[in-house]
Each structure stands twice: as C-alpha cells, then as structure tokens.
C-alpha cells in the first residue's frame, strides 16, 4: 500500500510536469513559467513524500495524556 501511493503520486506529478512543459505559451517568459511549475511540483512532492515515508514504519510510538472524565 505505502510505496504504491508514493509511485502513483509521482506518476501524477510527472504527467503534470509534462503537461506544463507542453502547454506553456511561447514567449520571453516561457523558461520562467516552465521551470517554476516543474520545480514547484518537484519540491512539493519531495516534501510530501518524505513526510509520508517517515510515517510508514514508525520506530517509536506516540505517547499522550488523555482526559477520560471531566470534573
């Protein structure tokens, strides 16, 4: 389940990047728009993926103090 999600999202990001590369209008700002979109997708994916991966097999367990009855 875990790794598959990572790969599926990666594929989606990849497709989006290709679409961005294909459909950016020509002009002096083409390079800026293309690079910005692809880099944004890459950065956000990395951030999400790292966070997702580190929670797949946690080595420690969360501890908390829970209120079970109000006064």
């Amino acid at each position: 389940m875990g790794v598959r999600v990572l790969l599926i999202v990666l594929a989606v990001i990849f497709v989006l990047s290709v679409l961005a590369l294909l459909f950016t209008p020509k002009g002096p700002n083409q390079a800026v728009i293309r690079t910005s979109i692809v880099l944004t997708l890459a950065c956000c994916y990395l951030m999400w993926a790292i966070t997702y991966m580190c929670q797949m097999n946690p080595l420690i367990s969360p501890e908390r103090v829970e209120r079970i009855k109000n006064n």
């Binding site: 951030m47 797949m56 829970e66 079970i68």
Partner: protein
C-alpha cells in the same frame, strides 16, 4: 525576410547574445544620434580614447559648461525648496532639443538665476531695514519707560551712584572718581544685543570702564527674525550711562565687537516721541514694500518650479551625451563609436538611428556594422518586475559569466521553498502571504512611497509572496497552524492503549497515560499525523524526521546543482570538462551523499517490526573505517558490504581524476593548436586592438583545479551538514510559536473566570499575542530564515555550477541616468 539570420531569443536561462557594433556617425548629426540611442538605452559604449587623459578629451569644455548650468539649476532648486514650493514633475520629453532651443534655454536659466539673486538681495536689504526699525522701536520704548521711572533723575543729578545695578559685580566704587564725575555730563548709549551675549557684554563693560557706568537691560518679548540666517533670535535692549565722549566711543566699539547694534536715541522725551512716530510710520511703509517683494519672489519661484524639472532633464541629457561623445573617435567628417548591443535588438537600433537622422533633415545617415570581437561581452539578463528581485539575489553573489546558466531561474522556486522548510507554519504563512499580496495589489500606489526600509521590503514583494505560499504548504505538511495541529483527515492510524492507571488532577479531570500502536499499513495521507503533533514525545519524532528531511533535501539540491553544471559544459562544447569534471563530481557526490539519502529512504520504507533497525550514522562511519564488511546486526539489506565497497572505490577514484584530468587535457589540447595568424582583411574593432589573449600555464591551471577539487570534495561533507540548518531553524520556529501560544493564550483560556472578565482578558491577550507573533515570529524569524536560505543558495547551491565572474551590461540610457539622480 528569409535571407535574414534568425535572431537569438531572449530567455531567462542565459544572458542575451551580444554583438559588438561599430557606428560611423556623420559629425553634424552625432549629437542627435547619440541622443536617440540614449532614449533607447540598448548600447554600452566602449572607450575608444583610452590613451587620452580625461581632461584632454574633445568635449570637456562642453561638459564644464553644462556643469555650470547644473549649478544654476541646483541654486534655483534650493531656493524653491526653502520656500516649501512643490516642484512639478516634467513629462518625459522625446527628442533631443535643437541647438537653438538649447541656447535659449541656457539664456533663460541664467537670466532667471540673476533675477532670483536680485530679488533675494532686495529682500535681504529690506529685511535688514525692517529689523533695524523694529529694534529701534523697541529701544525707544524701553528708553522711554526707563526715563519715566524715578531713579533716572537721581542718576542725572548724582551722576553715577555708588551702587551699581549691574548686579553682577559688587565692588565699592572709587569715591574720587565719583567726585570727578559729578561735574561732567552723563551721556548714554542704547542698543540691542542677542540675549545669549548679554552677560559677557556686561562683564566686559564693567572691566573696561572699571565700574564707572550705569547699565540697564530689558528683554524684548517676541523673538526677532534674523534676515541673514532666517532664524528667530531672542534679544535684549540695553542702556548704558557713562561720562564723556571718549568712553562713549569706547563702548560703541565694544558693542560692534560683541554683535550689539547701537541706535541713536535722543535724550529729550519730546524728540523721542517724534522719533517713535516716525519709526512707526516707516515700519508701516516698509511692511507694504516687503510684502510686495515677497509676493513677487514667491510668484517667480512658483513659475520656476513649474519648469525646473524639464530644464534639469534637458541639461542632464546634454551632459550625458557629451560624456558619451568623449568616448568616440573622430575621423575626418565622422565619428566612430563602438559598443556592446544585444544581438536581437540590432534591427531596432538601426531603425532608431535612421529615424533620428531623418528627423534632422540631413541627407547623410549613420552606418552601423557588426564587428568581430575576442574579449568577453557583458552579461545582460532581461528581467521583469517579477524576476528582478530574484536576479538581484543572485547578482549580489556575483554576476554570471557571459551566457552562463542563470541560477536566478531556479532560485525563483527553490529559494522560497527552502525558506518555507524553515518557516513552516500555516498561520504565519497566511499572514505573510496576505501582507505580500497587499503590496502586489496596491503596487502602483505604494511605488511612490519613499522610505528606505519599506523600499527594501517592497522590492522583494514577489519573493515574500512566494515565501508565504510555500510556508502555507510546508505548514500543512508539518500540520502546524500557530503551533496547533489541524485534523484534516479523520483516519485512525494509531491504536491508543492505556499504560497507567487513571489519575486525578486537581479540579480538571481524570487522566490516563496512553501509547499508540501503529496500525500497520495505515499512514496519514498528507503531512504529519495529528497524533504525532500532539504527542508528549513529539520532539523525539520531529527531530529525527526534520533532520533526515533536511539531509535528503540538501543532497538533492546539491546534486541538482551539479547536474546544472553539465549544461554549462555542453553549452561551451567542452567534452573534456564533462568527462573529467562533471562525471567525477557527480559520482563522488552520488556515491557518498546520494547513497546516504538512499539509505534514509530505504530505512523508512522497510518494516522493522521485530528486527533491530540499524543506525545510519554508524553505517556511514563504518563504510569508511571497515570497507567491505558490515556487522550482521547492523545490516540494512543483503549485499550491503560489496555495494558499499564499490561506492567507496568510485568516490576515491574520482578524486584524482577530478584533480589531474582537466589540466592535463588542456595541456594536450594546447600543444595541438597552432598559433592563429590574424587575417589581413578582417575588420578589427578599435576597442579590440589592444586585446590580449589570457595566457595559459599548466601551473595556474593545476592550482585552480586543485583548489576546486579540495573545495568540492571537502565541502561535500560540510555542505551536507550545512543543510541541517533547515532542521534547526524549523524546530526553533515551531518551538517558539508553541511557547508563545502556551505562555499567553493558553494561560488565559485555562483560567476559571467570569465570562465578561475572561472576554476582556482574552481580547487583550490576543492583541499581545498577535503583536508578538508578527514582531518575533514573522519579522525576526522570517529574517533569519531568509538569511539562511540566502546562504544555502549562495554557498551550497551556486558553488556547484556557478562561476559568477562576469560583468553587467550597463547601457547608455537617459532613463537610468535621470532615475539615478532622483535618488
């Protein structure tokens, strides 16, 4: 059109392709042509008279002349500013003025200056006269009062009494003196003196006359305006009685040296009365004249204020044109100019100079040719208002070499992203985004607002906008909004079981300690699980997560930088650099630090339940200390020993290749190339005549490469460690916002109070909390995260591919010259 070569495109990736252009400009239209180029602002002229001293150039006298005109304008401006009259902005004027217009303008300016000086002179004389009359009036008034009071008669009868009223010095007067004085007539001097000097004046008088005087002074209530300095001065009227003409003259001299003014006042009351009436009448007359003069002067200045900016613009342009013309070479009837131009702008420039020539009605046109060059052209990165700030972030590290890949392109995203990793908080991100959004939306209105600190923030508004947006994203990933978690997805990933007996806490309820067992396969879909964010041991988890996050991001960032260097080498078609620099660098970085990042990810993706997870730190150390063997207990995967050995060998082998490869390859290449003989017929640009090919020596090349190798290999370690700042800062930011919440808001929320009082307390505390959040967390923390992101880009990222040894394209442009003067 098909025959024309395709013009190179402008992209943000690399600086524009430049050409060296040579202009032949007929002398009679040279000024108009240079003026037209200045309006266009696309040519950087090169100095063709390098051997001529700055004072001996052709147009020095013209520049001096315009310096004088500038001085006149500055004088007029200062006069206008002193009267607080607003100077009207001139609309941008197009074409350069004709010589006739210029001459008229200069005449007008110098005439205006004369008129203003004359008016000033007039006013000063009148002011002075007015001052004298006012002071006179005060003197008469005070003298009057003084003579009317009783003790004057005594003085006149007894001459000077033994008691001095100066009050400053109490000394017994010489009786003999008094006896002698009885017979002589007593005369007096009256005048006005600044209040600050009255004491020293008194003392001096006393000493000079050895006490043989009677002095009285009175303060003038309203301060008097000094016409020279325009300042208000507080003054006193004084009257001094002494014997004899000699002493009187002495006193008058002393008055002069002390800055006092003496006024002739008659002794008899009737005469004084007449004088007083006369003075009053004259003051009235003068008042009228003074008002008229003032009005005339103000009207004149107001008139000037309407035009002065336009005059200034014309004069500045003329001066700039002559400065450029000093760079040109004179050749019979024409002038030769050479300068760098962006290749794709050549048609535009050609059209513009043709138009300029036509507009003068001359039948000759300037000629523009492209010439070959060997020296390095300037770097011209075309920016817009969005990319400008990112470009300046990069340029303050170093201007890119000609046609080198421009890091600003990547900085647009990676800079705000790395900032946001350190600044991850949804709430703070939203606040920052809104502030920047306001600056972007009201861009036009705010552009005129002048304040140094605001200008700095304002020029970076698009950077701040993106920083805010990315902070919102990383805030969501960290699941952190003003230090509180959001539960967007309501999935249950942990099975909480009690680990202790329920215990009661005073007045608050019954609690129990719980520990959450991970439900295998369930992972919080986006960001950190709220179970982690509100856990007691959240720091333990976050530390490990954020540390590994920063290492992985750092390694990827650095590998990305190394890969970009590949495109710099392909652009220069330097295969040896790719083989001997790029590939060893990539292998070295990849086999050690890339491998570390891989291991981090691999460890995360493996289910360690039941097994003992190995420590990555020990693994990396052992990879160097005992290559080829891995402890059975600390094994990450099968075949680890062999793979690590191979990676280590790759890294070790790539170092000598990196060190020696390139210098040796260059030496071989240098032997092969035969010295090129200059082609006879080639048009050589004047500015290229003294070009010398940079000399290559093996020793230099080797030392350079050695420095680069040492830097790259050692800095691999230190740079990776440097990315840990991402972890440290984001942790600090999270902790600080949590402390702020707990100390302020939470304390009040927990309080058991009357609803009304609690409401008021809450209102106040929210204000304090918000103020501190903005001041400490947004501004201070934001600034520190900004600086760290800056460093990561300048040092860690740019050093992988960026030379930054170029120089900027500075075209001759009136717009820039005029803008520079404004600031």
């Amino acid at each position: 059109m098909a025959s024309e070569n395709k013009l190179p495109e402008t992209t943000f990736l690399r600086s524009d392709v430049m050409s060296l252009a040579q202009f032949y400009i007929p002398s009679e239209i040279s000024k108009q042509t240079i003026g037209a180029l200045g309006e266009l602002g696309l040519v950087q002229f090169r100095d063709l008279n390098k051997d001529v001293n700055a004072f001996q150039r052709t147009f020095v006298s013209d520049i001096r002349h315009y310096d004088e005109v500038s001085r006149q304008i500055r004088f007029l401006k200062s006069q206008i500013e002193r009267e607080d009259i607003k100077i009207a902005k001139a609309e941008a004027t197009g074409a350069t003025s004709s010589p006739k217009e210029l001459e008229d303008l200069e005449q007008k300016i110098s005439e205006t200056e004369k008129v203003v000086i004359e008016l000033n002179e007039n006013q000063r004389t009148l002011d002075k006269r007015y001052l004298e009359l006012t002071e006179m009036r005060h003197v008469i008034k005070v003298t009057d009062e003084f003579f009317e009071s009783s003790n004057v008669k005594d003085i006149q009868e007894n001459n000077l009494t033994s008691e001095s009223t100066t009050g400053l010095l109490k000394e017994e007067n010489n009786a003999a003196d008094l006896e002698a004085g009885k017979k002589s007539t007593v005369s007096f001097v009256a005048g006005v003196i600044p209040r600050t000097k009255i004491n020293s004046f008194e003392r001096l008088l006393w000493r000079m006359l050895r006490g043989n005087l009677y002095m009285k002074n009175a303060e003038i209530e309203e301060p008097i305006k000094d016409p020279e300095t325009n300042e208000l001065v507080e003054k006193n009227v004084f009257i001094v009685f002494v014997h004899g003409q000699v002493l009187l003259n002495k006193i008058k001299k002393l008055c002069e040296s002390c800055g006092a003014t003496v006024y002739p006042v008659s002794e008899s009351a009737e005469q004084r009365n007449e004088e007083s009436i006369e003075v009053l009448a004259r003051i009235e007359d003068l008042d009228q004249v003074l008002n008229n003069t003032r009005d005339t002067r103000m009207n004149k200045l107001r008139d000037i204020a309407k035009n002065i900016d336009a005059w200034n613009t014309v004069v500045r342009k003329e001066k700039a044109i002559y400065h450029v013309m000093n760079l040109l070479k004179t050749d019979k009837n024409s002038m030769i100019a050479e300068g760098w131009v962006p290749t794709n702008k050549i048609p535009e420039i050609q059209q513009r100079i043709r138009e300029a020539a036509e507009s003068t009605g001359s039948n000759v046109t300037p000629i523009m040719n492209e010439v070959t060059y060997k020296s390095v052209p300037p770097t011209y990165n075309v920016t817009n208002k969005f990319t400008k700030c990112f470009q300046s972030i990069v340029d303050s590290y170093g201007v890119a070499n000609y046609r080198e890949i421009n890091p600003a392109l990547y900085t647009i995203i990676t800079f705000p992203f790395l900032f946001a990793v350190m600044f991850g908080d949804l709430g703070h991100g939203v606040l920052m985004f809104l502030a920047a959004l306001a600056m972007v939306l009201f861009e036009k209105k705010l552009a005129n607002f002048k304040n140094e600190i605001f200008d700095m923030v304002f020029s970076g508004r698009y950077v701040i906008l993106l920083m805010g947006l990315f902070s919102i994203f990383t805030g969501l990933v960290y699941n952190d909004c003003f230090s509180k978690p959001l539960s967007i997805f309501n999935t249950k990933n942990f099975d909480f079981v009690a680990t202790s007996d329920p215990f009661e806490e005073e007045e608050r309820g019954t609690f129990v300690n719980q520990v959450g067992n991970h439900i295998s396969g369930n992972v919080y879909a986006f960001g950190l699980d709220p179970a982690w964010v509100s856990a007691e041991n959240k720091l333990l988890f976050q530390n490990s997560y954020k540390m590994k996050l920063s290492v992985v991001l750092g390694v990827i960032h650095m590998l990305f930088g190394t890969i970009i260097s590949f495109f710099n080498y392909t652009h220069r078609k330097s295969i040896s650099s790719i083989l001997l620099v790029f590939i060893p660098e990539l292998l070295y970085m990849g086999s050690i630090f890339g491998y570390l990042a891989f291991c981090i990810v691999y460890k995360w993706c493996t289910d360690w339940s039941g097994a003992n997870p190995p420590s990555l730190m020990n693994m990396l150390i052992n990879m160097f200390l005992s290559p080829g063997s891995v402890n059975e207990e600390e094994k990450l995967y099968n075949g680890q020993g062999i793979i690590q050995l191979v990676l280590l060998l790759i890294a070790v082998v790539s170092i000598p290749i990196l060190l020696l490869g390139k210098p040796i390859a260059q030496k071989i290449a240098n032997k092969k190339t035969v010295e090129e003989l200059p082609i006879e017929n080639e048009v050589v640009a004047i500015s290229e005549r003294d070009y010398k090919k940079p000399e290559w020596s093996f020793a230099d090349a080797f030392i350079n490469q050695a420095v680069h190798t040492i830097e790259y290999c050692l800095s691999g370690i230190s740079h990776t460690a440097s990315y840990l700042r991402l972890w440290a800062l984001s942790l600090a930011h999270g902790q600080l916002s949590e402390v702020l919440w707990d100390m302020l808001l939470n304390n009040v929320l927990k309080m058991d109070l009357n609803v009304v009082i609690k409401g008021i307390a809450l209102f106040l505390i929210i204000g304090a909390w918000l103020g501190l959040t903005v001041a400490i967390l947004l501004i201070m923390e934001g600034l520190s995260a900004f600086l760290h992101a800056l460093r990561l880009h300048w040092v860690e990222f740019n050093s992988k591919f960026y030379k930054g040894e170029g120089y900027k394209f500075v075209p001759f442009s009136f717009r820039k010259i005029l803008k520079k003067e404004e600031n």
